[in-house]
Amino acid sequence: MTESLLALILVFAIIAASVALYTDELLSAVIAVGAVGFSGSIAYLLLGAPDLAITQIVVEVVSLVLLIRVTIGVGLRLTSGPSSRKRITAAGAALLAVFALFLISLKTFAAFGTPVMERIQGAPSVFYIERGLELTGAANLVTGVLLDFRAYDTLGEATVIFTAVLGGLILLRRKGRKNTGDSAEDAG
């Protein structure tokens, strides 16, 4: 039941992704990619990941706002023509090769419904599940992993976010630094 529902949602996401890439209007492309993100959120809910579903909704709303900021006021029509035929055939050939690799590698993958932790001896997930409550005191094991067992990863995440915010501020500031010499030619 869950599997067929998930398949339906994924097919919807695939259709939305194709629409996003091949529509002529940038604004509708942005809306379509929002549909991909929200279907992902529903899929997370079905997969037993409520934290992820909530995060995905928030992130998707913010990213829609960002993308609409990029597209609005630009003129909704896409000015560029289609890509050259040569490029499309080259990309298609490359992707066929990659898809063949996926087919081969997914053959060794266990069927859907058996988690990775059951196939690997001494997987860290088993330890997290069994001792998580006792060692971290968090009933929600995902937050236990995020903020305790793998806190360094979360610290790195915070660093990445901080760097991205700094980069965005530097790129978008209205007033550049005072022109101190001959080197800076366009500060605006």
Binding site: E3, L6, L10, A13, I14, A17, S18, L21, L26, A29, V33, V36, G37, G40, Y44, G48, A49, D51, L52, T55, Q56, V59, S63, L66, L67, V70, T71, T79, S80, S83, A91, L95, V98, F102, L103, L106, F109, G113, P115, V116, M117, P124, V126, Y128, I129, G132, L133, A139, N140, L141, V142, V145, L146, R150, T154, E157, I161, V165, G167, G168
Partner: protein, 119 residues
């Protein structure tokens, strides 16, 4: 079958990245790839009929290791989603900057303008 569908989503994103000539479309392709990879990772941790990895009175400590889905991919995908947002913010900032300077999102036209400037 579900794994193959996420692969297809990933490939659509890569195809867009290779063939599109508009910066906004390139950003959209990156978003699609990101969604596909996140979905694949969470799918790989799913247990048939599994419960969320939260210890409650229904899924008690003694039963959680048999009924819960894998919490580890979920935690890592949580990090990945948030990082994806910050990367998107940076990408949109760069795109806006490029639009302010060159007045277009088409990378062919931008390349032509840069070549003009050089000559």
């Amino acid at each position: 079958m579900l794994y193959y569908l996420t692969c297809l989503l990933f490939l659509i994103g890569v195809f867009g990245l290779l063939t599109q000539r508009n910066i906004v479309k390139l950003i959209i392709s990156v978003l699609i790839i990101e969604n596909a990879v996140n979905l694949f990772l969470v799918l790989s941790g799913y247990r048939e009929g599994g419960a969320a990895p939260i210890i409650t009175s229904v899924t008690s400590q003694s039963r959680i290791s048999v009924v819960s889905v894998d919490p580890f991919p979920q935690a890592m995908v949580m990090t990945s989603i948030v990082i994806g947002l910050s990367v998107l913010a940076l990408m949109t900032a760069i795109a806006l900057r490029i639009y302010h300077i060159y007045g277009t999102y088409n990378i062919d036209e931008i390349a032509a303008k840069i070549r003009e400037k050089k000559e």
